[in-house]
């Protein structure tokens, strides 16, 4: 099986979906001729033609709004927002429109739309190239929110998302594009080809939404993570010698609550990790669900390890980033508690 980087597997997912279904169209800022600033759509315009993959004016609201109109016509648009930090101008179209058209029209019109966007820090991108706005989507009924942590899942989840009949927010941890990242920013970069989950089948396959993956079985504490933080949490467990069960959520809505609760009932302890700012982050939802469904099994308070409640700083990136050290210490607290 070929190994791929995350960029390659995302590109491949596009091609497979476009090949399988003529109604799939791809557009966004710089995605056409150039193939996207992260090159995730490279080659598609050449292969599928200019009306299947094209550049867009810099207007995120217009891109999403036009895609909604296309979806209402029967197309299946898969669009790119250049950075998640730039989705805010489109937020009205996402929240008030894409998410609610099926409901408000009682199924008369639907929006089979995928909105891809790179998220997360770790590239010295400063406050507007580092954000993780997943909680701003998970709060919105009618949206699904997906976030892969490796090339295999990225391809399978993206194909599933494009084929899904509802709007899916597809978050791509940009720090993982070219290699797994365990949070040790000062160590040499490891290429994806060294990681088993870079083995990506050719052609069409799906990874279902709402199914988590246990990346490391363990008995001492359940760690809930997604995207980049899966790798960082695994590093923390390894380096702090903690027998953590690390769960990669993969999709936040729908959520695989069974896997989570089964694990917490087994370990009796839980921690949640994300890059997004702490307050009202998706970690809060996870905490609430765990304490509700596994209350009598919990032996210590659930810890959240998250971005601080500040904008994402530039120079202090590695003091801000919830690295293995911060996670490790938090896990130790959970074990002691």
């Amino acid at each position: 099986m070929p190994t791929m980087t995350m960029i390659e597997s995302i590109r491949d997912a596009h091609a497979v979906a476009m090949e399988a279904d003529e109604t799939v169209v791809v557009f966004g800022e710089d995605v056409g001729y150039f193939g996207g600033v992260f090159r995730c759509t490279q080659g598609l315009q050449k292969r599928f033609g200019k009306t299947r993959c094209f550049d867009a004016p810099i207007n995120e609201s217009g891109i999403v709004g036009a895609a909604i109109g296309m979806a209402a016509h029967g197309l299946r648009p898969c669009i790119e927002i250049q950075f998640a930090d730039y989705m805010y101008p489109a937020y009205d179209q996402i929240v008030s429109e894409a998410a609610r058209i099926r409901y408000r029209s009682a199924g008369d019109f639907t929006v089979p739309l995928t909105i891809r966007m790179p998220v997360g820090g770790g590239i010295f991108g400063g406050e507007t190239h580092s954000q993780s706005p997943e909680a701003l989507f998970t709060h919105v009924a009618g949206l699904k929110t997906v976030i892969p942590s490796n090339p295999y899942d990225a391809k399978g989840l993206l194909i599933t998302s494009i084929e899904d009949d509802d709007p899916v927010i597809f978050l791509e941890p940009k720090r993982l594009y070219n290699g797994p990242f365990d949070g040790y920013h000062d160590r040499p970069v490891i290429p994806w080809s060294k990681h088993p989950l870079s083995e990506v089948p050719e052609g069409h396959y799906k990874v279902p939404l709402g199914r988590a993956a246990i990346r490391r079985p363990g008995s001492a504490v359940t760690v809930l993570a997604y995207g980049t933080m899966v790798h960082v949490a695994l590093a923390a467990a390894r380096d702090f010698n903690i027998d953590a069960e690390v769960i990669d959520l993969r999709s936040l809505v729908p959520l695989d609550l069974d896997t989570i609760i089964t694990s917490v009932k087994k370990t009796g302890r839980c921690a949640v990790v994300h890059e997004a700012t702490l307050t009202s982050g998706f970690g809060a939802e996870l905490c609430s669900l765990v304490q509700k469904h596994a209350f009598y099994y919990l032996e210590s308070p659930i810890e959240r390890i998250a971005g601080y409640d500040t904008p994402y700083p530039h120079a202090q990136e590695w003091a801000y980033f919830p690295g293995p050290d911060r996670i490790g210490h938090a896990l130790s607290r959970v074990l002691e508690g």
């Binding site: 169209v25 709004g65 109109g69 979806a71 016509h73 429109e97 409901y103 009682a106 008369d108 009924a141």
Partner: protein, 421 residues
């Protein structure tokens, strides 16, 4: 207020204190209505270019006013087309149906049969004539004031009413605010409560039509006030860049709730001029003149359909009724402003034209009105038999949980179970 100015904000050559301009309508409650500041052409005065003319040769159309019916009810000038009598009569009927429908629903709102209602009184010609220029399969992306589109397309009145009542036959299952209809079959996109979002969606639909090599075109609708919204711009950019087969309609009814059109318009003379800034042919049309609306619509439809791209149209009209059932315009504009509106009433004007050309009489008109009222009454009785917001059968609370997604996810199923529905 000069003591407010920080020292460091003063420059050298700055004698004149700056002034903020706040637009103001000519007249307020208590004043005599006055529309003399609005610039209108005479009927027949504005030229009719070829559909295939270069957009940059047409910018004059954005400042004139395309009118066909003159004061005597005659059809004059280059936009006067040969429309057959049946078309005009069915247009008349559609407008009257729309007005009677509004009257009845407004009454029902007052009687507590529903929570909310919005009329389009005085604006009927625009949606009714426009719809007649479209073909089946084309798609409108309307605002809440284009009920005439649905009515003109023959959508069942009792279904519209059932939506307004949120009753057991409501096609939208009680989920939506009254008047927020949706019908794919009748070319009427689900109305949004958020202004302007539909304008760029219309462009997207038209783009899809072009991507798929179809021949169906789209029409976006927006109010004068809502042109200020950002998505107006998004629509203009997208339509202009991809030459989308879409007609972008601005219904300028002079008011946006209590706010006079000048707040959206700014220093520009007309809304149609916005289109010139995007290189689009832009028409400014008497929206109370059924014949002008029909002719201009047909012109724009032909342009879109023949791959010549988008057209922007400003329909000049007047919102004769309140903004909605929650509004009382007498607190912000002269009570009798509607009567003073220089472009008259669209139903009355078409009626006078038909009489002038000998195709109609007062008696015919009275009979038509009775027939229209009767149709409305029958539809109303049927709709009410399916319940109203306050009485009778209703959509089920189970419906709250359905249709959020194609398939109900676990967390929603759980919530529904906990709710006990």
């Amino acid at each position: 207020m000069s003591e407010l100015v920080d020292g460091d904000l003063r420059g050298n050559a700055r004698e004149v204190p700056l002034i903020l301009a706040i637009p103001e309508p000519a007249r307020r409650p208590g004043d005599t209505p006055d529309f003399s500041s609005l610039k209108f052409s005479n009927a027949g005065e504005v030229r009719r270019p070829e559909v295939s003319d270069a957009p940059e040769t047409m910018y004059d159309l954005a400042t004139g006013l395309i009118r066909v019916l003159d004061d005597e009810g005659r059809a004059v000038g280059p936009w006067a087309a040969d429309i057959d009598k049946d078309t005009l009569l069915s247009g008349l009927r559609n407008m009257m149906l729309t007005r009677e429908y509004d009257r009845r629903m407004m009454l029902d709102q007052r009687q507590g049969k529903t929570s909310f209602y919005m009329q389009c009184t005085g604006e009927e010609a625009i949606s009714c004539a426009f719809r007649m220029a479209l073909s089946d399969g084309d798609m409108n992306f309307p605002t809440y004031r284009q009920q005439g589109l649905l009515i003109s397309s023959g959508y069942p009145l009792e279904l519209m009413m059932s939506q307004v009542y949120s009753n057991s036959h409501d096609p939208l299952r009680g989920r939506q605010l009254p008047v927020m209809y949706s019908s794919k079959e009748y070319g009427f996109f689900s109305i949004s409560g958020n202004l302007a979002t539909q304008f760029v969606q219309a462009v997207g639909w038209a783009m899809a039509s072009a991507i798929r090599g179809s021949s169906a075109i789209a029409a976006g609708w927006i109010g004068d006030g809502a042109t200020a919204e950002s998505d107006f711009h998004s629509a203009m950019v997208m339509a202009s860049t991809y030459n989308a087969p879409v007609i972008l309609n601005i219904v300028n009814n002079q008011w946006a709730i209590s706010t006079y059109q000048a707040f959206a318009l700014g220093r520009s003379a007309t809304f149609a001029m916005r289109g010139s800034g995007f290189g689009l042919p832009s028409l400014r049309v008497d929206g109370n003149d059924f014949l002008a609306v029909y002719a201009a619509s047909a012109w724009a439809v032909e342009r879109a359909r023949s791959n010549q791209g988008p057209t922007l149209i400003e329909w000049v009209t007047y919102r004769a009724a309140a903004h909605s059932s929650s509004d009382d315009p007498s607190s912000y504009r002269p009570k009798d402003e509607a009567l003073a509106w220089p472009l008259g009433d669209p139903i009355d004007r078409l009626k006078r034209h038909l009489i002038a050309v000998g195709a109609w009489s007062e008696k015919d008109h009275d009979e038509l009105l009775v027939s229209v009222q009767d149709q409305i009454s029958r539809a109303q009785a049927e709709a009410e038999s399916y319940g109203t917001l306050r009485n009778g059968p209703k959509p089920s609370p189970r419906d709250i949980f359905e249709g959020v997604y194609a398939e109900m996810p676990n967390h929603l199923r759980l919530q529904r179970q906990e709710a006990g529905y």
